[in-house]
């Protein structure tokens, strides 16, 4: 699951190396529009709909946080 998330993130912001950051938000790698675009791709990839109340920056701050968010919203690895 992490490899797939990383691939989507890199496709979204190819100028960044997401493996070298501990906090994508703090490091300025994802803004709110990136998060919206990311949610659309994650929803399609995992055939889920991430709950709107979960779409807050802290849930997109790291690979682990995104993985936890996906699992919470019914995604299967």
């Amino acid at each position: 699951m992490e490899a797939k998330i990383l691939s989507i993130l890199t496709g979204l912001r190819p100028e960044f190396d997401f493996t070298r950051s501990k906090d994508f938000i703090e490091d300025g790698m994802l803004d709110s529009f990136d998060i919206a675009a990311l949610v659309v791709e994650l929803d399609e990839t995992y055939a889920i709909s991430i709950d709107g109340v979960d779409i807050v920056p802290e849930n997109f701050a790291s690979l682990e946080a995104i993985k936890n968010l996906l699992v919470k919203n019914g995604a299967r690895p």
Binding site: L12, D31, S32, F33, A36, A37, V39, V40, S49, I50, D51, G52, V53, I55, V56, P57
Partner: protein
Amino acid sequence: MNFRFSGRKISGILTVLPANEVPFEAEIANYSVSPAKSMKLKLAMGYNKHRIVAGDVCASDLCVFGLEHLFAEGLLKKEDIDALVLVTQSPDHFMPATSNIIQGRLGLKQDVLCLDISQGCAGYEIGLLEAFLLLGQESIHKVVLLNADVLSRKVSRRDRNSFPLIGDGASITVLEGGAADSEIYANVKMDGSRADALIIPAGGFRCPSSPETGAMVEDENGNLRAKDHLVMQGDAVFNFVQVEVPPMIESLLRSAGLPPDAVDYFMFHQPNRFMLHKLADKMKVGHDRMPANIVENFGNASSVTVPLAMTFNLGDRLTRERLKICMAGFGVGLTWSSVLMDVGPLEFCGMIDYA
């Protein structure tokens, strides 16, 4: 706060849109991000094109144009209008009220109540509520509800947070007495402690416009705007909508004693496609029953988006059928509001261009 009415109906809806249509691609160069990123934003949010006024067109111009069309087509008589309620965030002047200006320009009778309401995205439901209350008076038989905004004039063209989605327009909704067995349910909530989430900081009495408030300043995301421009905390507004709107609709349906499946359409305010799809999914409502196609075709013209969603998606159908519609608005204030009622068959339900 819950409201309940009976014996009232909508008899016609007309929306008026500026003929000036601008494609999203034509504005990409204004934004600080790369064209590739802008195109991803377009896909996620549903940005495509928007209608914005050219030059110094005001809210009253759109309303007068639409009302004159209705008079000319014989769909509304001047002498029948007992109250003119205008909901706008972009009045022609601080004073007098724009509804008075419209009354004067059209030569309507003096025996009429003109009323401006300062509301935005939730303003269609607030306006309906006011109209339903006025129809409780013996002297008021017909209310014309006007929703109009030209907020593109107050949004920086270099603000990718707000300019791609902004739209201008007006709607005219005629309301009058209806069948006594037709129940209408409404719900309104306000939270002024979050008023800064959507605001035009300067230009009022708190912070009058000056050369300083007109100076463009770059924010942390590279958007350029002045204090005289509209500023939106997009994250806060998104979260507010996702948290507050579903329980409001649940409460509304509960007070009406109806399951979600009893509603034909959920006609909600249209901030962007992404936000509406998330709401629909949360509420387990099919996307076909909650249209999200207004921003991509016309932009978000504040309180006009709900009547526009009806004229654009259901226009002819609403002149023939009666549909149970749940309307909802959410935004500036913060305010969130909803109305559940039967709509149709209407005497008119259409759209015209202002040129």
